[in-house]
């Protein structure tokens, strides 16, 4: 893969190693707070939640995005990567930052959950670790942008390949959105942790965190969408319906995923109704690129199905090559995206959110979208890349399909009951619930079911690691090189607006100022809102 194989493999292996630790922690949490287990020391539970969330929010998806980004860069631009040593440095920074943060959590010095809402505070090592990991990912952003720019310079007038265009959009999205949590840590949390300030503004901290909290999900989503647009159509034996629509979808994601974070704060008292409503409107807009994507992908699959002899209104579905991991995973991902999208529409609906805000419904929602849709596409990407990276075919295609099936079924069994108990009013993030209380007793059966789903997911995660490991030991074989899908009408020339980001980044910055400027300034001007930090530490 143009000399990038070792680099890409290293990213994926570190990512999956972190994943393999974090998933069993999640399943353990579901078990111990269900009626199937006695109560445990709550501090241990919250410590595990912190480790699970921090790993799966800041480390695992970042590494997959980075590794896949390098692969896209090397293959779609068709030339070797430059500054490979810098890329390795970035990887080591992410590993070092993650190790520092995780060691702090494991020692019980930062039991503050991955959202670390001040005035809760942990050891400064935790925040510094997270920051170092984020700085590592910033190097990757620089590398993606410089590869993009250099290729454009050397190929004036030619369209940048869609996969690279989309990956760069994801990198720019992350660059801008990671500033929120970065500012929260550097300006509010660390000065307080080092004793330079005596109080911390909890409302302002939540606002800065919301700057990152929503768009980060779109940063996680971009690799999945890149696979939908540029790998799935050819894996299914067809072509991409529209290259242009793909570009428009990625640009809309870049623009609209950022100025909407306050929809996480609908129930917060420090923000007025006007800006909450504004963010609700923009959240509605971010549904547009996803609806466009679903159309384009289904149309591309229909082309593939009909080319393979499928007939009739739905006959093309049966004709698709369901034995290919990417096709199977994409179908599962679309189903989970549909369900999770529907619950998301409820969350974003301004007033309707009150019914489900901060209940288990929300946990169900984001596990379905991220843990379900996005992560299953990460698996599919790994299965697609592995033979190209190792030069060896995947072991046991049947096991690969079983792995995808168990993840899909496990995720549904885990998350659908969460939605149900959320509607019953079960709050999230509690170490245990007293199911002997008649008011909570009806939730017991759902929570137990959900815990079983968690263990199906553990089996699936182990299966993934097993398949990938075993595939390294297959004999070398002739593997066709990775090729990105062709559009039915590949663009010959493109307007500058669909081939670069200069104007769009200005739009992103302007929208952010418009949607966050007033609430942030208001928050800075309000009197007496600071409170002393509260240090959470294991006894």
């Amino acid at each position: 893969m143009n000399g990038a194989s070792r680099l890409v493999l290293a990213h994926f292996w570190v990512a999956f190693a972190a994943f393999a630790i974090a998933v069993p922690l999640g399943a353990w949490q579901m078990l111990v707070r269900s009626p199937l287990h006695r109560w445990v020391d709550p501090e241990l539970y919250y410590r595990a939640v912190t480790a699970h969330g921090t790993t799966l929010a800041y480390v695992f998806p970042t590494l997959v995005a980075m590794g896949f980004g390098y692969a896209v860069c090397a293959v779609s631009l068709g030339r070797p990567l430059h500054a490979v040593r810098l890329a390795w440095t970035a990887l080591w920074l992410v590993i070092a930052g993650a190790a520092i943060a995780m060691a702090t959590v494991a020692a019980g010095k930062a039991t503050i959950l991955y959202t670390f809402y001040p005035p809760l505070s942990g050891s400064p090592f935790y925040y510094v670790g997270v920051l170092i990991a984020v700085v590592g990912s910033w190097i990757w952003i620089g590398l993606m942008v410089s590869h993009f720019a250099r290729w454009k310079r050397d190929h004036p007038g030619l369209p940048v390949p869609l996969a690279m265009f989309a990956t760069t959009a994801g990198a720019l999205l992350w660059a801008w959105t990671s500033l929120g949590v970065g500012a929260e840590i550097v300006l509010l949390i660390l000065p307080n942790a080092f004793g330079w300030t005596s109080t911390i503004d909890a409302g302002l901290a939540r606002m800065l965190f919301s700057w990152t909290l929503h768009a980060i999900v779109y940063f996680w989503l971009i690799p999945a969408y890149v696979a939908f647009y540029t790998l799935l159509p050819s894996a299914a034996g067809g072509r991409l319906y529209s290259d242009k629509m793909g570009r428009i979808a990625f640009l809309l994601l870049l623009i609209f995923s950022m100025p909407i974070g306050i929809h996480h704060l609908y129930a917060d008292p420090q923000i007025g109704p006007g800006f909450k409503f504004l963010h609700a409107v923009f959240t509605g807009m971010v549904a547009v690129p996803t609806l466009l994507t679903i159309f384009t992908i289904c149309a591309s699959l229909e082309i593939a199905g009909r080319l393979r002899g499928g007939r009739g209104v739905l006959g093309w579905l049966a004709a698709l090559p369901w034995d290919r991991p990417l096709v199977l995973a994409s179908a599962f991902a679309l189903v989970m995206l549909g369900l999770g999208g529907a619950s998301g529409l409820i969350n974003m609906s301004y007033a309707l959110n009150s019914t489900v805000h901060n209940t288990q419904w929300v946990t169900g929602h984001f596990h379905l979208i991220y843990g379900g849709s996005i992560v299953i596409m990460y698996f599919a990407i790994a299965y697609e890349l592995w033979p190209r990276l190792t030069g060896r075919p995947l072991v046991a295609p049947k096991l690969v399909r079983l792995q995808l099936w168990t993840w899909f079924v496990g995720m549904l069994v885990t998350t659908l009951p969460w939605h149900v108990v959320g509607l019953m009013g079960q709050p999230r993030r509690m170490a245990y619930y007293d199911y002997s209380d008649p008011a909570l007793a009806p939730q017991a059966i759902w929570v137990s079911l959900s815990a079983i789903g968690g263990f199906v997911l553990v089996v699936s995660a182990l299966l993934l690691v097993g398949v990938l490991l075993a595939s390294h030991r297959r004999p070398i074989a002739a593997i066709p090189p990775l090729a990105f899908s062709l559009a039915i009408r590949p663009p010959r020339t493109l307007p500058a607006s669909l081939n670069g980001f200069r104007v769009w980044m200005l739009v992103v910055v302007a929208l952010t100022i418009a949607n966050y400027g007033y609430p942030l300034v208001q928050s800075l001007l309000l009197p007496s809102t600071g409170v002393p930090a509260y240090r959470v530490e294991a006894r």
């Binding site: 420090q270 923000i271 909450k276 466009l292 529409l345 609906s349 309707l352 245990y432 909570l440 600071g530």
Partner: protein, 187 residues
């Protein structure tokens, strides 16, 4: 002729994409019509009063002093319930409110971020120290609701549960009417 056939196919692509774009726009507009209608017509708005308070002096004076917490019936017949959310309990732990009455909850925190949720209702707000959260509601039927904290507020969060007892308007006046600040315990 092949050229024209493929040109026609591309026209089909563009036409279908245009139709889908219209459909998407329609879906989004419909969602907003519903949100705006309910927001205005039912006055369904999230709690957003942007009211600050000095969290370090709550216990010394003002509306969140201990003697002032609980349900206060107003001269116009409505009720204001003042609640303190703190690590790891609510004060009062058992709130009593009358049915068919306009109720305003005013909640704040002296320490960290908490959540305030009355199960089975739409009463749901974050409680951020330094701010007063205000939620308006009305209970139509008597009954008992759980009232858990729904934001992690450090180890002990899992024990932070309270209850809301909704009693018939007339019974409320009989039993708790004489008290300046009512909670479940009769004094």
């Amino acid at each position: 002729m092949a050229e024209t056939a493929s040109e026609r196919a591309f026209d089909t692509v563009e036409r279908s994409e245009r139709w889908w774009a219209y459909a998407v726009a329609l879906i989004v507009v419909f969602l907003f019509a519903v949100i705006i209608f309910t927001g205005l017509h039912w006055a369904a708005q999230p709690p957003s009063n942007v009211e600050t308070i000095d969290a370090s002096r709550l216990h010394l004076a003002g509306e969140f002093m201990e003697s002032n917490l609980g349900t206060a019936v107003q001269p116009d017949g409505s009720a204001i319930v003042r609640v303190l959310a703190q690590q790891y309990s609510f004060v009062p732990q058992c709130i009593v409110v009358p049915t068919e009455t306009s109720v305003v909850f005013r909640v704040t925190s002296p320490d960290v971020v908490h959540g305030f949720l009355i199960a089975g209702t739409n009463v749901n707000t974050m409680v951020v120290p330094g701010f007063v959260a205000e939620v308006r509601t009305r209970f139509e039927r008597p009954g008992e609701h759980l009232m858990p904290c729904h934001e992690y507020c450090s180890v002990g969060h899992e024990d932070m549960w309270a209850r809301v007892k909704v009693v018939d308007r007339r019974e409320f006046a009989r039993t708790y009417g004489g008290q300046p600040r009512a909670s479940c315990e009769r004094r």
